[in-house]
């Protein structure tokens, strides 16, 4: 147990800032958090000191630009522990979809008025591709509870508890009626990590996979099943190529069903 507050820096790489907002939006719980956490660098909260030595660096965002990479390496050097938070940091996030584009230059021109100002790395990647990551908090965005629990455990000097359970477990505890069974909906719950409280199924919607791959995800079997629901190979690709397209188990399915799609259209 640390006898002083945990010194924490929050660094933002390429991201929407949604994960950082999980801190700010928590009201009275934030005050409680400040009893054992001292933020040194947290731009969204007006603190700027990226070069200060800290106990924990929380990294939000993916490595998409040269500047991201430079700042990430600096953050790693100045932190005892580094925790990646959110989909972008853990697997590249939505912006990593660009890695899959066949013609990247064309893409850029289609999106930006002045593509010549865009200076990015070849691929958009997860934090762990570049530096040692001590813990990962998955989710798009992460929840307040996840981040608070992680920091509390680090302050107490214990290894943060990981939970890679399948979403179905929580879905069943909540008493939701399974949308995959009643609607033959392409729910990703059986291959997705818990964390959201089974939000989408509780509103009758199939899980989109915000929290990334679960423990031992059998995506092969789930996607076979989806074809039985009438999904075409390209629909399956879209299902997996969303938030965590660069995570290896989902990447495999994207490749597998892209191939099927090409073979089918020949």
């Amino acid at each position: 147990m640390l006898q002083r507050p945990l010194k924490v820096a929050i660094h933002k790489l390429t991201s929407c800032s949604g994960c950082q907002l999980a801190f700010i939006n928590q009201g009275p719980k934030l005050l409680k958090l400040l009893e054992f956490v001292e933020f040194t660098h947290f731009i969204e909260a007006g603190l700027f000191a990226p070069d200060q030595e800290v106990d924990v660096a929380l990294i939000e965002g993916s490595v998409s630009t040269h500047d991201d990479l430079k700042r990430l390496v600096n953050a790693r050097q100045r932190a005892k522990l580094l925790v990646s938070i959110g989909a972008c940091a853990t697997s590249g996030g939505v912006q990593a979809l660009r890695n899959m584009a066949d013609d990247k230059e064309n893409w850029k021109r289609a999106v930006y008025a002045h593509p010549e100002f865009i200076e990015e790395l070849q691929d958009c990647t997860a934090v762990a591709t570049h530096v040692k990551v001590d813990f990962e908090l998955w989710g798009c965005p992460v929840t307040q509870q996840q981040v608070t629990e992680c920091l509390r455990q680090l302050h107490a000097g214990v290894k943060p508890k990981d939970n890679a359970e399948k979403l179905c477990m929580e879905c069943k505890r909540q008493g939701n009626v399974c949308v995959l069974i009643t609607q033959q909906a392409p729910c990703l719950g059986p291959v997705v990590r818990t964390g959201c409280g089974a939000l989408c199924p509780s509103f009758g919607k199939a899980c989109y996979g915000c929290f990334g791959p679960s423990e031992q995800p059998n995506c092969e079997s789930l996607t076979n099943r989806m074809t039985g629901f009438g999904l075409m190979p390209n629909d399956i690709v879209h299902r997996f190529a969303a938030i965590h397209s660069q995570s290896p188990p989902y990447q495999q399915q994207i490749a597998r069903w892209r191939l099927q799609d090409l073979e089918g259209s020949d």
Binding site: L33, R152, M169, R173, V177, N218
Partner: protein, 365 residues
């Protein structure tokens, strides 16, 4: 005692009497495309005219437009979530200046009357009783609520494609464990009473004597319901599963199985749980919480610093051999009551009856 007859237009009085006697009434309703048990405000909210169609990995409701409200067989859950809660705080702790103060978590039961539960639900309840009430460590939350149940069961008048309770010895007709038992007929309900609790309720109902016609119709319906497609091997056969621990077929199942736990969590007899230590963010109070768990979870196989069931084939084998074989040594019968939930609610459409038969078949050694 002779069965009485309650005309359909008087069914609402059953609801009224239960309320008068202080019960919260829980009944079947259509919710999100399934039959779900929940607080029942009015008899009109029952699933009138609704039947369900099930197969491996699928469940679909149909509105037949007829005047029955118990023509369906079951939904994703029976009584389990009301007694063995999916989430239960077991104790609390608070850090004080002179150490940790522990607080026990008292049960908060209430009188609940369930309308519309089935024979398989009662069998499953008795199995859970053995585990949670009559074992060496009785569960206080389960026990307290269990003592305040009033069970109004209904005999099944048809069987679903996934029902196989006749072969497990449980059957479509409820024979024990209920307070009141109904047969739903064309024009009303045959009413049988088993307990004092039940008699206190039926005494307040405008019952007529049941006619021979009523009894005949009830018998015809039961006969119809006894036609079931699946047959689970008998208890003795099932014990032989333990001679097939190295069967290559477990691997074949594991290729399809998602290890999602849906089968165990919809199964009305599965009782596994895990505990988590949680901190209430503002007060700092510690909660020790028990959650539903499953032998399909990775951590469930992590025992004494070792992963005992790293492979999904081992987890499916654990589920099937515990449920159908080793359960017999533990609680004197197989843990399967033939409700078919694990079949219809399996996202991978895996059928436990078909798989058990395959493994026990000659060509699978």
């Amino acid at each position: 005692m002779e069965k009485g007859f309650l005309p359909r237009e008087n069914l609402s009085q059953l609801h009224a009497v239960l309320c008068q006697q202080g019960y919260k009434v829980i009944g079947p309703q259509v919710k999100d495309g399934a039959i779900v048990f929940d607080g029942l405000r009015d008899i009109a909210d029952l699933p009138w005219g609704i039947v369900e169609h099930t197969e491996a990995g699928a469940y679909r409701l149909e509105d037949t437009g007829d005047n029955r409200c118990f023509a369906w067989n079951n939904g994703p859950q029976g009584l389990k979530p009301w007694l063995f809660k999916s989430q239960q705080t077991v104790w609390r702790g608070e850090a004080t200046s002179d150490g940790i103060r522990f607080k026990s978590e008292q049960p908060s039961p209430q009188p609940l009357a369930f309308i519309g539960i089935r024979s398989c639900d009662i069998s499953a309840l008795y199995l859970q009783d053995k585990h949670f009430m009559h074992s060496a460590y009785a569960d206080p939350w389960y026990t307290a609520q269990r003592k305040q149940l009033c069970l109004i069961a209904v005999n099944c008048s048809r069987s679903n494609d996934t029902c196989f309770c006749e072969s497990t010895g449980d059957g479509v007709e409820a024979t024990y464990g209920y307070d009141i038992l109904l047969d739903e007929l064309d024009d009303g309900y045959l009413v049988d009473v088993k307990s004092e609790r039940g008699r206190a309720i039926t005494a307040a109902l405008p019952l007529q004597p049941g006619s021979q016609q009523h009894h005949k119709q009830a018998q015809r319906q039961l006969k119809n319901a006894r036609h079931q497609q699946r047959v689970m091997p008998d208890a003795e056969q099932l014990l032989k599963l333990l001679e097939h621990l190295n069967d290559k077929h477990w691997q074949d199942i594991a290729e399809r199985c998602l290890a999602c736990g849906n089968c165990t969590l919809t199964c009305p007899t599965c009782f596994c749980s895990k505990q988590e230590a949680e901190v209430e963010p503002v007060s700092g109070e510690h909660h020790q919480v028990r959650y539903w768990d499953s032998c399909f979870s990775e951590k469930h196989g992590y025992i004494a610093g070792m992963q005992l069931r790293g492979d999904v084939s081992q987890r499916y084998r654990q589920w099937m051999t515990h449920k159908l074989a080793t359960w017999q040594a533990q609680y004197d019968r197989s843990g399967c009551v033939g409700c078919g939930r694990c079949i219809s609610w399996c996202p991978a459409a895996i059928d436990i009856v078909a798989e058990a038969n395959l493994i026990l078949g000659d060509d699978h050694d």
